[in-house]
Subunit: 241 residues, 2 copies
């Protein structure tokens, strides 16, 4: 079992979207919020649904994925506690362009469009914060776009693992364990390749002692080894950094 205990929960005051609000403001924000819970593999919303609400994760992990007209899936991102998803209502979109699924049992706050407009008008700081968050999202996806356009599969998978470890890695004695289930298929959809290729790559890394993996479970034994794959440097060069 991946987690026996309950995932840590964040409080509204530590959510970046509401940074800078005073206690009273946070109180009002909370008043307008709806609480939502989803078990593992349940969805918060589906691609194509009317974009009714913005979500902030209170606890857990949410996968945002898109389905192409041809039926291929890609993973847009994994969001964790304190992060937002379903941000369509922030700007004028009508439908969700993606599906949001709980990867482990997750809780979130949700604000519908009306509440959101009201809150942003009353606390412009929220709009500013949202701008910042969208900006970072944009930078992130552009950087991944660039990698997809210019780099080989192996390096993209290495980067994906390093990012996932940074986001949700748990230090164990054997190494850094990814804190939520990630299948080969997930990694493939995250990096624009096939599960077969990912499987081969992970097998090779396992043989080289870089990581150990099982069913939807990955432990990075040698992070430096992974990073050297990102950079085309030998491990000893990394050490000198």
């Amino acid at each position: 079992m991946v987690q026996g205990r309950r995932e840590p929960t964040v409080s509204l005051s530590s959510v970046r979207l509401f940074l800078g609000l005073d206690t009273q403001g946070l109180q009002e924000v909370l008043t307008w919020a709806r609480r939502v819970e989803r078990e593992r593999n349940q969805s918060f919303f589906l691609q194509g649904e009317e974009a009714g609400a913005l979500f902030v994760i209170r606890a857990g992990r949410v996968k945002v994925s898109q389905l192409t007209p041809e039926g291929q899936q890609i993973v847009v991102r994994y969001a964790g506690a304190g992060e937002i998803f379903g941000c369509v209502p922030l700007y004028g979109g009508r439908e969700y362009p993606a599906t949001a699924t709980a990867v482990i049992r997750s809780e979130a706050w949700a604000w519908n469009r009306r509440s959101l407009d009201h809150l942003m008008e009353r606390y412009p700081r929220i709009a500013i914060n949202a701008l910042e968050l969208l900006g970072e999202e944009l930078a992130q996806i552009r950087s991944r776009y660039q990698e997809l356009a210019t780099e080989r599969v192996e390096r993209r998978v290495a980067r994906a693992l390093v990012r996932l470890a940074a986001q949700a890695g748990k230090q164990m004695e054997e190494g850094v364990l990814l804190g939520f289930p990630v299948s080969r298929q997930d990694l493939a959809e995250l990096t624009g390749t096939t599960l077969h290729t990912v499987s081969r790559i992970l097998s090779a890394w396992e043989q080289r002692g870089i990581l150990r993996s099982g069913r939807q479970r990955i432990v990075i034994v040698n992070p430096r080894g992974l990073m050297s794959l990102e950079e085309d440097l030998e491990p000893d060069q990394i050490d000198r950094l």
Copy 2:
């Protein structure tokens, strides 16, 4: 020569970032603006420079591109009159993550970070509009990311041409002419491939009567033919739409 006459110029009131401001507001916005002009192939700013200002295009066409550490280039987007670029100051970024180059002679307004903060505080509507613009940008790049991850080169090039034509196509007798110079290399950097592959694809299309092309010049003779390549439909199926 591609254009003998001057490119059309937009007024501040038709810029989406300032939608909803009254005359006085627009006047004030204009007061804080700096005017910038660039000849063809000159840059507005370079990747890595301190992100001093936000730009809005008054006339012309601007290419936003990124250079990888390995020296490969990708084109993030082409922006036209009324659109914004260099939007880093809107959120908290320190450096420009990309380079902005005038593809044809271009004019822009620029606002430095201080002016921008001042204006957004005084006219929160600007922040809301910015949110909307960033949201659309995000949707656009995600869709391109998805295409890059799941589609073949030929289709990606077809999509790129259709988009460019929609953005800046000029109806001529022979077909739709792209209104600014686009090289094979540019198309390659826009679609994540090489200029060789683009060249082969365009040659094939020219033979099939879909387009005609020359040095940095493309005329789409049969738009339906192109669109059928996007959809994996035969041209007659497109006709029935």
